[in-house]
């Protein structure tokens, strides 16, 4: 893909991420000649892998808007729920 990718192109990339590595929470949006990569992945390392895979496939600049799940992995909960 050399021009701005179509919606179908982006769905193909999402599908590849989903089917190859069970990455279900990554969504792509094309705008102004760029692709915004949205959603959530496990870690910064995983984000880098996903962004590299997207860049390779879409051929236009990619904006990282991914959120990382591991940012909350070390967060101690502030309270508990009482279940009678």
């Amino acid at each position: 893909v050399t021009a701005e990718p179509s919606t179908d192109d982006l769905r193909d990339v999402e599908r590849a991420l989903c089917e190859s590595d069970s990455e279900l929470q990554v969504h792509l949006v094309a705008a102004a000649g760029r692709v915004r990569v949205k959603g959530r992945v496990a870690s910064a390392a995983r984000r880098d892998e996903v962004l590299a895979a997207v860049r390779e496939r879409v051929g236009v600049p990619v904006d990282d808007e991914l959120q990382l799940d591991d940012e909350t992995l070390s967060r101690v909960p502030s309270g508990s729920e009482e279940i009678p």
Partner: protein
């Protein structure tokens, strides 16, 4: 009161080594047991299981787990289970365990579970052999949970631990098209038949935390992307006269 900490879907790989443990140092101050609801690893390899073992060994409270579908991906589930057991982690699959706590005896019955869907819109034991096999495996997974629950001796609090969801409510947020691959109504039937006090599961990263079975058993989706913390904490038995 029995204090239960629970979390699932950590999907540990080398990039996350030590990240979860950093929040578990004072776990005995907050919980009597840690339940892990599967998908401990990212790809289901023995190497990743070693990371999991290092993450959860010697926490000062018993750790009880089931495996998730990711933990089966590398066809090394037995090896993964053995690595976890060597680290002192109790691995359940159609089995149960009793944890003695200051607040009473906690029974935990565990099974991974499997997809099947929900009553009226479930997969059926009909058609091609592959379809039948899928549906039968879903039913068998619920039978495994039933066996686990029935194997429990009398306890003060009974908890079901699965990876797959027993109810639809905790899948809210996930695309409905994939609910049949995320949950199984027969798990809820087993939970209700046994009279559980709580059912804990993971698997549904984009789901919701809270649900309830038709029989009134609270269901909690503790997938880490849902609870967005190191663990969720539930105080069980409050109001039942136990200290």
């Amino acid at each position: 009161v029995i204090r239960v900490a629970a979390v699932g879907d950590m999907h540990l790989g080398p990039d996350l080594a030590g990240r979860h443990r950093a929040a578990l140092g004072d776990l005995p101050d907050h919980a009597d047991v840690l339940l892990l609801a599967g998908d401990l690893t990212r790809h289901g390899t023995a190497d990743e299981a070693e990371l999991v073992a290092a993450e959860y060994r010697d926490l000062g409270v018993p750790v009880v787990t089931v495996l998730g579908n990711h933990d089966y991906n590398g066809d090394e589930a037995e090896k993964i289970s053995e690595i976890l057991r060597q680290a002192g982690i109790t691995v359940l699959e159609g089995t149960s365990t009793v944890v003695e706590t200051p607040g009473g005896r906690l029974g935990v019955a565990g099974a991974k579970g499997f997809g099947l869907g929900f009553a009226g819109r479930s997969g059926s034991d009909f058609g091609e052999p592959e379809q039948k096999a899928w549906a039968r495996h879903g039913r068998a997974s619920a039978d495994a949970l039933t066996r686990a629950l029935e194997s429990l001796p009398p306890v003060d609090i009974k908890v079901s631990l699965t990876h797959f969801a027993p109810v639809e409510a905790t899948l809210a947020g996930e695309p409905p098209e994939i609910w049949a691959f995320l949950g199984n109504y027969r798990l809820a039937e087993a939970i209700d038949a046994a009279g559980c006090d709580l059912a804990v599961h993971g698997h549904a990263h984009a789901g919701s935390e809270k649900g309830v079975t038709a029989g009134g058993v609270p269901v909690r989706n503790v997938a880490q992307p849902v609870i967005r913390a190191a663990y969720a904490r539930y105080d069980l038995g409050a109001g039942q006269g136990r200290p």
